[in-house]
Symmetry: C3
């Protein structure tokens, strides 16, 4: 297996088999961390952090240095040429001419894709806003696999802030891809967002099962849960009695709980911040005494605050420091593969999900709609980035920005075939009318608003009461 010249912007850029390849190389490298110093000799990694993240940056840099490569670093970027109005694309092209590989963290969602599009060298996304942070997901998966031997069939509980935790959304999707069952244990008001749940079921073939929490207080010794997501491998007869099957499963214990911190900064303005903090589920010695958690790995992407008690640090089930430590060999494996400095023998390599997604029909007319996500790179750098969407679904009509992967639901549709008829046929219709399904994809025009449609010379169709 060769990943030479490839970039890692989202987890979808790697197939399951390729991920396994990264892991098997990480295994090999972690056996002799000091023996890899010839692998990337003479290569330069540019480490560009437009947002501070010391831990992630140091881990990447340590990885490159252990491989014998060298590093140029910029953590002071906001104050520099970018502030003078330079585009991300220009920066990518220039730095791509200095370095052999780029690691980028940026607050705008989709920024890493733009860098990958322009740099001319492999790019690793080290976090692009709320979108993705794929190497964190890789090291999370790697830790589970290393401790349990596999990911398939495991029961993993996601814990705490399921709403804003980028790391968690990525991990959920990755666990689904590898056939694990996922349990949700959100803090009140911080439930897993609809669009992630939709992605789990739509893109990764999962099956959603809900059940009433058996015991909201948790006193009964049973995991109190609001929802459970199960992979398709669950036998159907169990699926028909979801509550019972879940309980049966849970009695056998949870394989890992993945805790996330309470992101205070997200709640600064809200008056509910303190309330949420009080109700935030804490993982401590007492909790881990429950039978369900007897063999449970305790994971956390760090930094932690109060949601994970210091008293657990010496507990053999605690994995969070091991997770962090394993980031280095995982990143070593990844960097050396993308640079083509190493290859891995893997029996059969399937194509990554992103390539499959690239087969989706595309909407790239450059008008009608734009991405609604204010943090999307395509919105912030519209000077040279042409908005582009994948048509993810027709019912409801759902477009997904190729940069930040946010969903957009256009309200109106029209057909580009009007010019073959009379001008009278140049009309727009409600997206949820039968026209929304009828217009052929290659002819589809979408609009955010009636004014947008009118400005393009379209008139309201019969079902529009403008």
């Amino acid at each position: 297996m060769s990943l030479e010249g490839r970039s890692l912007v989202t987890m979808d850029d790697l197939s399951n088999e390729e991920i396994e390849g990264v892991f098997s190389l990480a295994d090999e490298m972690s056996e002799s961390m000091t023996g890899q110093s010839g692998v990337c000799q003479g290569k330069i990694m540019a480490s560009l952090f437009f947002e501070p993240s010391t831990r992630t940056r140091l881990s990447f840099e340590a990885a490159m240095l252990r491989l014998g490569g060298r590093v140029i670093t910029a953590v002071d970027i906001s104050a520099t040429s970018l502030a003078k109005g330079e585009s991300i694309a220009d920066m990518a092209r220039v730095v791509g001419s200095y370095a052999d590989i780029i690691v980028i963290r940026h607050p705008w969602e989709g920024a890493a894709k733009v860098v990958a599009d322009y740099a001319g060298v492999p790019v690793i996304n080290a976090g692009d806003g709320g979108h993705e942070h794929p190497t964190q997901t890789l090291l999370d998966l790697y830790t589970i696999r290393k401790e349990r031997g596999t990911i398939k069939g495991l029961k993993i509980a996601l814990w705490g802030d399921l709403k804003y935790g980028r790391t968690l959304h990525s991990l959920a999707c990755a666990l689904a891809r590898f056939g694990a069952s996922i349990l949700f244990r959100p803090a009140p008001g911080l439930e897993m967002p609809e669009h992630v749940v939709r992605k789990l079921t739509m893109d990764y073939g999962g099956e959603l099962r809900k059940c009433e929490a058996v015991d909201q207080t948790g006193k009964g010794g049973v995991f109190s849960l609001d929802a459970i997501y199960v992979t398709p491998s669950t036998p159907h007869q169990l699926a028909m009695m979801p509550d019972i099957s879940i309980q049966v499963e849970l009695e056998k214990g949870v394989d890992a709980i993945y805790v996330t911190r309470f992101q205070k900064e997200r709640h600064a303005q809200a008056n509910g911040g303190d309330d949420i903090k009080k109700a935030y589920p804490v993982v401590d010695k007492k909790l881990l005494k429950e039978k369900t958690f007897k063999q449970t790995l305790v994971m956390h992407p760090l930094p932690r605050i109060d949601e994970l008690a210091h008293e657990l640090d010496a507990d053999p089930r605690s994995m969070y420091f091991k997770q962090a430590a394993r980031g280095v060999p995982v990143r070593m494996a990844l960097i050396s593969l993308l640079l083509g400095a190493r290859k891995v023998d893997i029996p059969e390599v399937k194509e990554p999900i992103s390539r499959r997604k690239a087969g989706y029909p595309v909407y790239d007319r450059g008008f009608g709609i734009r991405c609604q996500n204010r943090s999307c790179v395509s919105v912030n750098e519209e000077k040279y980035i042409k908005a582009e969407f994948r048509i993810a679904s027709r019912q409801p009509l759902t477009l997904m920005c190729v940069y930040c992967e946010h969903e957009i639901f256009p309200k109106y549709v029209a057909s580009s075939e009007w010019h073959e008829g009379t001008l009278e046929s140049k009309r727009y219709h409600s997206a949820d009318s039968h026209w929304g399904r009828k217009i052929r994809l290659e002819n589809l025009i979408v609009f955010d608003s009636e004014s947008e449609a009118r400005s393009r010379g379209f008139k309201p169709g019969k079902n529009i009461h403008g």
Copy 2:
């Protein structure tokens, strides 16, 4: 040719032949960028950026790492010991004892010279305020020479902000030295400053020719220009009919246009900022369709904003990303030469201009005048830096600060010979009187103001009506 132990503070520190030597080594190194990792093994470069400039810093650091050297970096300097009141000289001495070569960017003009004076190791100026940024000029020249095979006789148009563009002033002088013709195409109000024009004619032997713009709108298909600077190689008969000769030349096409960005931050206070922005000449596909620009290299020091259209990026005439990329081999060549890690065979090496300039008479009495440039290092670090000036001209009496190279025009003169006569002869005179030319240079005393002269015990001469 050996440059071992030398510093590069201004372009004048290198003769034309030495610059050619740097370029021929850059050629050699760019052929095998990964094959140079033994050149500076064991050497340390200190990269000191008192002003952020990610692009320049990363380029220098990548260059040193490609040479097998190592880098210590400080971009956080303003917040540290310097803020505690430390002098640049002390900092230079200390860092010079840690590293083998120093790269410095500093907002004060002349700061790099101070570092070079005290560090005890070679110093490269990576930008000292509005003064110089010689490696940018080197890579600009290198790109032109690489694309055209020579610089001599080329026609290069300078485009946009000719007033504040430090890069442009340096480049203009360097082009003149190598015998290129320079055309000015300023944005309105951003014309090339008088002192640069003077430098071009005085120091680099150029000849200035002005002509009316043939067509201010540019519609006529001819380059609309306000002024043209021609090297002495122009035949005299053409020079006598400047307008015609220029048009004849332009019809053959321009070899390169060097575009600079609109420096918004310079116009923050001025109400004219928006007006200038509107009138700023944009280089785009349309412009490049003109016959004059058929073969024109499009250059830009980056970052660009709106003055250079993204649509040109794929155009083979666009050089700006190549320029940036070539900064690495040029800097590799320079670093390895200054460190004495490489030598170059060059038939005949002349002495650099700065050494010739060092032959100018010097005014270093330490009183009478001081540099008028508030950003000059000699003004900001007067505690230990003694003001020093080269007497560049007697008519008008012109002194040039040896640090920032700003011109000063003292108003009054006196002679140090007074003490040989009676006290009555201790008088000061107007600098533009015959005394200004008569007093021998070794006796010359200059004064900024009458009060300064009086405070030194001088009385007004006959032509002074104080």
Copy 3:
């Protein structure tokens, strides 16, 4: 001698013999600075600066690079995960899994000890608030020893701000350990603090002698001094006539003056700032002409401001730039020893003072008192750090925080033996009553305040009039 796996948090972590070992390796390395690039090949140093200190950081990084090792750097830490509420301990554990050795500067006193406790790799304290900066002390000592061949018996004058100069406090203790005599020459109001003087006499066996300043103006050609500290090697008959003996000694000259800068920032609020600045003793050519200073080394940790005249820079007695330069080989020696990459042959190695101090009785009940130093790490990270004190003295009862080494004087005592008697015996007493001496150390309970004692269920003893 092997220091493999050890940390350097305070100077007490090294015995005199071990310090000599570091110096002899530094001697060896400074003879061939470029010949050490194989010593730490493949090793990574993490350079974590929670406070900016460019000079110290660059010196450490240059040292590691000269040893052939590599460096990951974080100077941007305040803005990152730590700001999200992460503990120093977590940070230490994570970075300790990336790097082979950690260099840390942090504003909290005792922070380096916490990092050393948790990192799992050797840690070097590069300054923890006002507590210690041991490598600065090492390079100061090294310079004296290199110039004079020994430290024992020398007369070293400490000059300027003796109150706030952390560097100076450390150096004073180290000089005492090596048997030098120390003279104080404070700026007015900036005298050496009581607790440092106490440490010098209590911990390092020094003997304090005071004398009237012979000549406050300094005009008499004699060192004007307020106090002198002498090591026990002074013959007793001289010690009986302190003033005379001191003058006799001074007439033979001072071996070194160690100047510190006026720390303007400490006096920002005080109106006395300007007054102190005026009265601050300046070391200049005039002073050094005095007979006492004929052979005196002039030392300064840098940065200097006005207290040390630039005119001295070329004087052969000036050591300050040499001091800075020697920081590199001293740190090279230290790093390679802690990493176990080098060993040194030393005839007899005694155990470090910190191990001897570890033999002190400890108060670690976790209640009753807490460290009074607001900058102490144990106060700022009390979530997981249990307060711990060494009982340094019983009369007056003195506890010393094991983190920041500040002294605490508890007001009340009680005995844990009360439970063996009746409840009536559960009483607290004044610490300076006979109970303060009578209660056995293993039973000792101490209290900050009566309310603290009462809250633990103790009642006032007979000598308490609450």
